[in-house]
Every structure is written in structure tokens, then in C-alpha cells.
């Protein structure tokens, strides 16, 4: 059971959060300029690395804030991501 470091509330049990996917999956600023291939990649594909991934997490039961962490998908080691570098 992961312990997620919420920037506001401090470390809390994973059950208080929702994992909201890879942070580098940004919505294109102009979707209509995207090719079909690129749009399908945004909609459906994931990097899904075996190792460190930068993710969005949502503290849904706490301060309801969305924040990023770097998580190793093998060891589950977590390092917070500084607010400014989002």
C-alpha cells in the first residue's frame, strides 16, 4: 500500500488518491492541427515505462489538489516533483 507525499497534506495512504496517468500526456493546444496518428497516440497510447514515470495524482479525499510525483514502477519508490517544474 503506497504512501503518497501530498504537497499540502503530507504523506497519506494510497486509498486517499486517484492515479491520473502520465504527466507527459499533455492535451495538444490545437487538436485540429494533429494528424490522425498523433491524435490516436494522444487518446490511447501510453509510454508505460518499466522504471521511473512522472504521474499526476489527485488527492480526492484530502485537499482535492492535483500534483505530480516521479514513481518507479518496479520498486514503487516515490520522489515528489517541485511545484514550479510542472
Amino acid at each position: 500500500m503506497l504512501e503518497i507525499p501530498c504537497p499540502w497534506c503530507g504523506p497519506r495512504n494510497e486509498s486517499e488518491f486517484v492515479c491520473a496517468g502520465e504527466a507527459d500526456r499533455k492535451r495538444p493546444s490545437d487538436p485540429e492541427a494533429e494528424t490522425e496518428e498523433a491524435w490516436a497516440d494522444y487518446l490511447f497510447n501510453s509510454t508505460n515505462p518499466k522504471g521511473v514515470v512522472r504521474e499526476w495524482w489527485w488527492h480526492v479525499s484530502g485537499c482535492t489538489r492535483w500534483f505530480q510525483i516521479d514513481r518507479d514502477t518496479v520498486t514503487h519508490e516515490i520522489t515528489p516533483v517541485e511545484e514550479s517544474s510542472k
Binding site: M1, E36, T73, T75
Partner: protein, 415 residues
């Protein structure tokens, strides 16, 4: 390959079982093969078997980074079913069920396929609607899936003992008589023995670290046991699909998430059918031939390659189980583990060519064990003929760029 039977057992008993031959060889990898399959699980070994048996291609190597059958083939809950929503899913999964029922004879290896039947409890009108939609689609494709009244459910499952103040009272069920349980390890070992006997090289402890290409076509794989050349490479590495596909720069619509399963201590037979309690937390359970109650649940809520799961999943599933089988309260959890599933965006298998010529992928989907023989057969067909098998036409990557998904749940719910 000497045939197994009661007579071979008796014959060898006389000489203290000292003369059994190897199930499969452990050859050193040749420098080149016609086809290299990455992944020595049920899908990979099965594809090699069908390449040899149905397409006469025997200069094949199956490369397994650990021990064969050690991935998801050795970690699932042995359930084989074909109850799906979409017309593009049902026939494919029906073929898998048919193949499973003849595989013990074809491979001359007892996979212990027991046709227990599967009952899904219906605990709300929404669940009733989904069951009816599934039943009607399956009915069209000759797969029996019928509704059960509450009395019929009680009559089939004597230990079903719902408490009066149940949060979601069970009103009945939906029943697939042909759903079965299969001894998972035996699927890998059976395919391995039969493929090896037809000349396929199964190479364990051989991890693929890179894939070589020349102008858009694969030429070979770099492995921990040297370079192996091949014009055709098939990937069947459930849980590591993204990792291997990235070696040719191919991104995939999958996330790797743990799927946990656990067993109780073995007890005398109390449960025959496979039971699904969908409405609480999507829990399913059955009793293995050895007497253990085997329980499984939906995936853990975040991607992971750690091959272990988080404990609340077991707590949620246990509360659901105890709602319908309160007598299991004193039964004990013996062991729990996790497999790593490549969960496709729409929850359906992906058996497909890719942007790189000669590189084919079989991503088992959110429950690869039930599709093992059908995926192996159609994957072999795709590799051999470079065109999809009729029943796997819609399972290619194109469905994602065209948006014509085969929506069977998957991650589409939370995107």
C-alpha cells in the same frame, strides 16, 4: 516424442521412473532462425506450436528471459470463458474455448480442462441489462449464456447463503455452462513439449535487450546470449509489451497493471461452478481440483511492474465473497501473488502487424489466459501469412486510429 499414457506410466514404474526423457531440450541459440518469438509463456510457445503444426515453419526460436511459463501463464486464475459484449469478441473467445477442449489430446498432455460452468450474480437492474445484451450477442454466435432464477442459483450452489440485509440482494444469475478451468502451468509445459518435439528451439534465461532493423524491417534481436538474426519477430510478452515494442519505437495503447489472485487452504469439495460477484468489486472465485478456493479481482488502481499487489484489493474482494459465502469466514488465506497485465484501452486483445515490417505483436489483453490457444493460432497465422486470421481481423492496431474500438471495459472507463 514418446506418448504419455497410463501404460507409459506403468512401464516406467517398473524401472523406478529412471527412463523418462526430457520434456523439452535446452539448446544453445542458433545464429539465425526464420521466426523468433519473444516470450516463453502460453501465447509464445503456442504460436511456435501452431507455426510448426499448421504452417510447417519449424526453424523457430522461442526466447524466454526467465523460466518458461513464468510470466502470467503461471500466475492467473485458470478461468476460461467467452462471455463478452461485442460481435468482434465472442467468436474469437469461442474458438479459444473450443481449442482448449481438444488441446489435451492434441498435445498429449493433460491440461486438466474441467468444464465447471460460470455463474455471474445479478444484483441490480443495470447488471441485468448488461447480462441480457451479452447473452443475446453470444446466442447469435452459438454460445450458450442463459439467465438463472434465484432458486436455480441456490440449487446449483448449495453454499450460497446470502444474509437477509445484503446491500445488493442477489436476484438471480447468468450462466455460461461451457466456461472451464484449466491447469495453467500445464498449458505452457504442454505447448513447450509439443513445439520442441517439432523442432522448435526453446531458449530460457535469454532476455531480449534490443531489436535490430534495416530500413523499416527487422533483421534480428540482441539478447543476453548473443545476437540472433531473423526476418520475422513475434512479441508475446504479457506485462512487458510496451518495453519490448519500444525497442522498435512502437508506442502501444496499453498500461501495465497488477492483477492479483490468491488461494485459501485446500478443503474438501464445496464449490463446483466459477462464481462472479460483479456488482460489489468485480470479484470472482472457484475451487481448484486440489481443493483451494481461488479468488481474483480487478486490477490494482495504478500501473506497476512490481509483480506484487496492494492489500486493500484483497480486503474488498473478501467482503464481497463473505456476503454470498459467509461460511468462508473461518477459511484461511494461504498465499497471494500478482501477474502483470498489459491492459488495452478498450480491454480487447491486440494481435497485429506494426509500423516495422516483420515485427508482429500479440498483446493478450486484460485476461490473456482465456485467449491463449486462439491468440496462439491467429498469431501464428499472422506471422506465417502476413495477413490476419479471419477471426482476428478486427484485433489489429488500426482499430485505434480509426476509433472503431472493441469496447469490453478496459481503461476506457477512467480516461
Amino acid at each position: 516424442m514418446k506418448r504419455f499414457s497410463i501404460f507409459s506410466l506403468a512401464r516406467n514404474a517398473l524401472t523406478g521412473h529412471r527412463h523418462w526423457e526430457k520434456m523439452w531440450r535446452s539448446p544453445d541459440p542458433k545464429r539465425e532462425y526464420d521466426v523468433v518469438i519473444i516470450g516463453g509463456g502460453g501465447h509464445g510457445l503456442g504460436a511456435a506450436y501452431f507455426l510448426a503444426k499448421e504452417h510447417g515453419i519449424t526453424n523457430v526460436a522461442v526466447l524466454e528471459k526467465g523460466w518458461l511459463g513464468g510470466g502470467n501463464t503461471g500466475r492467473n486464475t485458470m478461468t476460461v470463458r467467452s462471455n463478452f459484449l461485442r460481435e468482434d469478441s465472442v467468436p474469437f473467445h469461442e474458438m479459444s474455448l473450443d481449442l482448449y477442449h481438444q488441446l489435451s489430446r492434441d498435445l498429449n498432455y493433460n491440461l486438466m480442462v474441467s468444464q465447471r460452468g460460470m455463474i455471474t450474480f445479478i444484483q441490480s437492474s443495470a447488471a441485468n441489462r448488461v447480462a441480457l445484451q451479452m447473452a443475446n450477442t453470444m446466442h447469435i454466435y452459438g454460445a450458450e449464456y442463459r439467465m438463472l432464477t434465484l432458486d436455480e442459483v441456490k440449487q446449483k450452489i448449495p453454499i450460497f447463503d446470502p444474509s437477509p440485509d445484503m446491500r445488493l440482494p442477489v436476484r438471480g444469475g447468468v450462466y455460461q455452462p461451457r466456461a472451464s478451468m484449466v491447469r495453467h502451468d500445464a498449458v505452457a509445459w504442454g505447448f513447450a513439449r509439443a513445439a520442441d518435439a517439432r523442432g522448435v528451439d526453446i531458449i530460457q534465461n535469454c532476455e531480449v535487450t534490443g531489436i535490430q532493423q534495416e530500413n523499416g524491417a527487422v533483421t534480428g534481436v540482441e539478447t543476453t546470449r548473443g545476437l540472433i538474426k531473423a526476418r520475422k519477430i513475434g512479441m508475446a510478452v504479457a506485462g512487458h509489451g510496451s518495453v519490448v515494442a519500444s525497442m522498435v519505437g512502437q508506442r502501444l495503447p496499453i498500461t501495465t497493471q497488477p492483477l492479483q489472485a490468491w488461494v485459501s487452504e485446500p478443503v474438501k469439495p464445496v464449490l463446483n461452478e466459477i462464481v462472479v460477484i460483479r456488482s460489489y468489486y468485480g470479484t470472482y472465485l472457484m475451487q481448484s481440483d486440489k481443493g483451494e478456493i481461488v479468488v481474483g479481482q480487478g486490477c490494482d488502481p495504478y500501473p506497476s511492474y512490481a509483480q506484487r499487489g496492494t492489500f486493500p484489493i484483497i480486503e474488498d474482494a473478501t467482503t464481497s465473497m463473505l456476503e454470498v459465502f459467509p461460511s468462508f469466514g473461518r477459511l484461511k488465506l494461504l498465499r497471494h501473488w500478482a501477474g502483470m497485465l498489459d491492459i488495452p484501452y478498450d480491454g480487447s486483445p491486440i494481435i497485429s502487424k506494426t509500423n516495422t515490417r516483420g515485427f508482429y505483436i500479440d498483446v493478450a489483453g486484460s485476461g490473456g489466459f482465456k485467449t491463449t490457444p486462439a491468440a496462439a493460432k491467429t498469431f501464428a497465422h499472422l506471422i506465417a501469412k502476413d495477413t490476419p486470421h479471419p477471426l482476428a481481423e478486427k484485433l489489429g492496431l488500426e482499430r485505434f486510429s480509426s476509433g472503431r474500438l472493441i469496447q469490453e471495459g478496459g481503461v476506457s472507463a477512467n480516461r
